[in-house]
Amino acid sequence: MTDITSADPMVLTAAPPRREIGIKRRYAAERRFRLYGILAISFGVIFLLLLLWSVVSKGYTAFLQTEITVPVTFTEKVIDPQNTRATNPAVLMAANYPVLARDALAKELGVDPADRAALKEVNSMISASVRVQLRDIVVNDPSVIGKTVPVKVLAEGNVDAAYKGHIDLSVPESDRKISDRQLGWIQQLAAKGELASRFNTGLFVNGASSRPEAAGVGVALIGSFFMMLIVLALALPIGVAASIYLEEFAPKNRLTDLIEVNINNLAAVPSIVYGLLGLAVFINFAGLPRSASLVGGLVLTLMTLPTIIIATRAALKAVPPSIRAAALGLGASKMQTIFHHVLPLAMPGILTGTIIGLAHALGETAPLLLIGMVAFVADFPATPLQPSTALPVQIYMWANEAERAFVERTSGAIIILLLFLLAMNIGAVILRRRFERRW
């Protein structure tokens, strides 16, 4: 730009040569600048895709579960050697069921019952959850004793991984979790159709388990569901009421100023601080039970309130004053104006904000860790007061497990969580597109 002022006026009379204003350099800089922008955006997008790909590629197999169908003979000698079950039902609870499954599988594979090393390897192909599975069969129907019934048992985590191709077979046998002999058996069973992958319903209905193949997010889903209900039932009415007051009624004074600054700050408080609040107030002071989804719901409510209030106020502000003036002019009171006219018009915006707030609450982990939801909960909670866990917390607990099979489960749980979030966000977008009015 300085070139313009320093240009020689004499030149103007002659055929003017192009003034050197560094146009090439400047255009190059322009192109570079533009490139940086494109690079920045593509970097962000690439990492989004990488993140999703890494989760999905690790996790999609979690929706399949390898099962082995074996004809289990419920031998009386193993279950109830003294034949005392009529008088002492506890015998059926404590019997050595895994042996039944092991022997059945060994027979199926043609393993010599005297070869103890081979039997041990056979045993390690079946999930430890078989004990409970067979016990339930026998306890529900004791007449099964002495008969042979085909039972679908879960394959052990390593067999599952090997069948899905997750185990690197080029590694020497001694460093692998699965032996060559077991691999042979897997192929043998798969060829007969007795070992196969099925859709993993257990992932959705089972509770916590130390065995990856039997672990599921059932309890966590229920806990998260309770918490979302509580958040919705508390945060939506309270948030809307607070916003109506602040937006429509509040006189401009110190107190309302304070509330306003407060809400903005609360929106920026780290979520873990809400966990500390919940621990100190709800658990220590009010004496509510630890690990309960009620406490989690209350904490998440407090955390979501600012989001909902901010969204609701924006929605209320967007309703044009002419609507209010018209209602007031026809003789409605201020309260009637707001509840009969302004609020219904603002509802789509409010609901959109609420759904987004709920989605945030659903994915929140840190505060729940502090109120004791990191618990090994295998039983389904029937009420929000019973111990439970939440979907993101379950993910955190599984992420800390060492076994390879848990990585698959964790990714599977993340996929479930992301699908829920996706559904909620799509719902919010649809709501906004369909019902939001521009004035």
Partner: protein
């Protein structure tokens, strides 16, 4: 009768009250509704409020105070040697009595008979009913538990009676008060306004709750560990002592945690700021509407992904990748395939957190950049500046205060972030400058200190609240400073 049943009773009375009130208003109005001051609904609402509100207040007050009254009454009847014991021990004894009392309600009458005869079998009997006891109950506990049950029962009956009476009383009073001249709408609206005001004060209550609860527990902590040792200590070694051993005090130095927090936050900002800012500039100044409509939501998906997912990504993908690639690099350079980047390290956590922060930086800056008026842009372009020159010399300076504010808010998010650092930064509280080594943060230690099974009075647990209040103050200052900058330096274009 349990509290929820009483609550339902009162609410049912409320509904009846509403209907009665409306009916009576209609009857009073006669043929012309305009004889009434308000519409009949409001008379119904007026009666319903009178029927429920006092009863609900009574219920709330009763259920808050009654347990402590009953407790002190039961405790008053403790034998002298128990009363002489320290408070904590008495609390334990009382906890056991409540367990016994809970168990006794589950017993059949026959079981209760044997129980009364023999105190020693209590434990086995109760554990068969699913109420485990921590120890063998002392003989005085059974009558005490009985007394507790009796008092609680009586209190519940009294509460039910009082609440129902209050509800009915309110109903009758309000019904009698209905006249055509009664300004029912104004009264109802006043109550609604009060409820709205109450709802908006919850925001203040939350803040007070945060500050008070954390200050309370933190002062408890500072009475055990001097404040200067916490704020200026350079060693973090809380030494998890077994509950009750008391003696071994750890060292609770904040500095290494703060250093880790700020370092990881700094690394995250190093990634997030340039990428986020350039994306925002490109999106606001260059991108065609189609690209914008496609890229902006895509980047915002990053903000919607829960942080636990980022943590898992860092733990299983980014960390091992950096570790392996560092081993390859050092192998190529020195021939020794030793990794110099740890799987859990400052760079892993910082990088992944940076990705998480990109959408915050970009969407905040995007809003600010698009808010710069068209005229400034057109003027600069009209004078012959290229687009990038316009951005650099005109738009960015105009948007600077807003952008700085946005960056400060992003930084406060980085400081308060928990799940990524819990999974990817490590737990070793060290002070060092190598970004390839693990460090730890304030948030990680809050989680670590509170997820164990510790008694709640030990400094090992209470330190979490001191850390929490530090974190709260830190983020609050960043946010207030951001607001201040935005307000002070904002250009007014109108």
């Amino acid at each position: 009768m349990s509290g929820s049943v009483v609550l339902l009773c009162v609410l049912a009375i409320g509904i009846v009250a509403f209907l009665l009130g409306r009916l009576r208003a209609n009857a009073l109005a006669g043929p012309k509704l305009s004889n009434l001051h308000s519409r009949p609904v409001y008379y119904g609402g007026f009666v319903a409020i009178w029927a429920t509100l006092p009863a609900l207040l009574l219920l709330a007050f009763w259920s808050i105070t009654a347990p402590s009254v009953i407790q002190s009454s039961v405790r008053g009847s403790f034998p002298a040697e128990v009363l002489a014991a320290p408070q904590a021990e008495q609390n334990l004894e009382f906890g056991m009595i409540t367990s016994i009392a809970r168990g006794m309600k589950l017993l059949s009458p026959a079981d209760a008979e044997t129980l009364a005869g023999d105190a020693a079998t209590v434990r086995t009997l109760l554990s068969a009913k699913g109420v485990p006891l921590a120890g063998d109950p002392k003989p005085y506990m059974l009558p005490a538990a009985d007394e507790l049950n009796r008092l609680t029962d009586r209190s519940n009956w009294l509460m039910t009676g009082a609440a129902v009476l209050a509800a009915l009383g309110g109903l009758v009073y309000a019904l009698r008060a209905i006249q055509p001249k009664l300004r029912a709408r104004n009264r109802v609206e006043r109550v609604v306004l009060g409820a709205l005001l109450g709802a908006s004060s919850i925001a203040i209550l939350t803040t007070i709750g945060i500050v008070a609860s954390m200050l309370g527990e933190a002062t408890h902590f500072f009475s055990m560990v001097p404040a200067h040792e916490f704020f200026f200590g350079t060693v973090w070694d809380p030494r998890f002592a077994a509950a009750g051993s008391g003696g071994s005090e750890g060292q609770f130095g904040l500095i290494p945690l703060l250093a880790g927090t700020l370092y990881i936050g700094f690394v995250a900002m190093l990634f997030a700021v340039p990428i986020g800012l350039f994306s925002a500039i490109y999106m606001a100044e260059y991108a065609s509407p189609r690209v914008r409509a496609f890229a902006k939501p895509l980047l915002e998906i990053l903000a919607g992904i829960p942080t636990i997912v980022y943590g898992f990504f860092a733990l299983t993908t980014v960390g091992p990748f950096l570790r392996d690639i560092s081993a390859q690099i050092s192998g190529l350079v020195t021939g020794d395939y030793a990794n110099f980047i740890q799987a859990q390290s400052v760079i892993t956590a910082g990088f992944v957190m940076g990705i998480m922060l990109i959408p915050y930086v970009s969407s905040l800056s995007d809003d600010i950049i698009t808010a710069v008026p068209r005229a400034l842009r057109d003027g600069s372009l009209g004078l012959g500046a290229t687009r990038s020159e316009t951005v650099k010399r005109v738009i960015l300076p105009a948007a600077l205060p807003g952008i700085v504010g946005a960056l400060l808010m992003t930084a406060s998010r980085a400081v308060g972030e928990t799940m990524i650092v819990v999974l990817a930064a490590g737990v070793a509280a060290r002070m060092q400058l190598n970004p390839f080594e693990p460090m730890t943060t304030v948030t990680v230690k809050i989680v670590n200190q509170l997820t164990g099974d510790l008694e709640f009075t030990s400094p090992q647990t209470l330190v979490a609240f001191a850390l929490g209040i530090t974190l709260f103050a830190l983020t609050l200052c960043l946010n207030i400073y951001a607001l201040y900058i935005v307000r002070k330096y904002r250009e007014q274009y109108e």
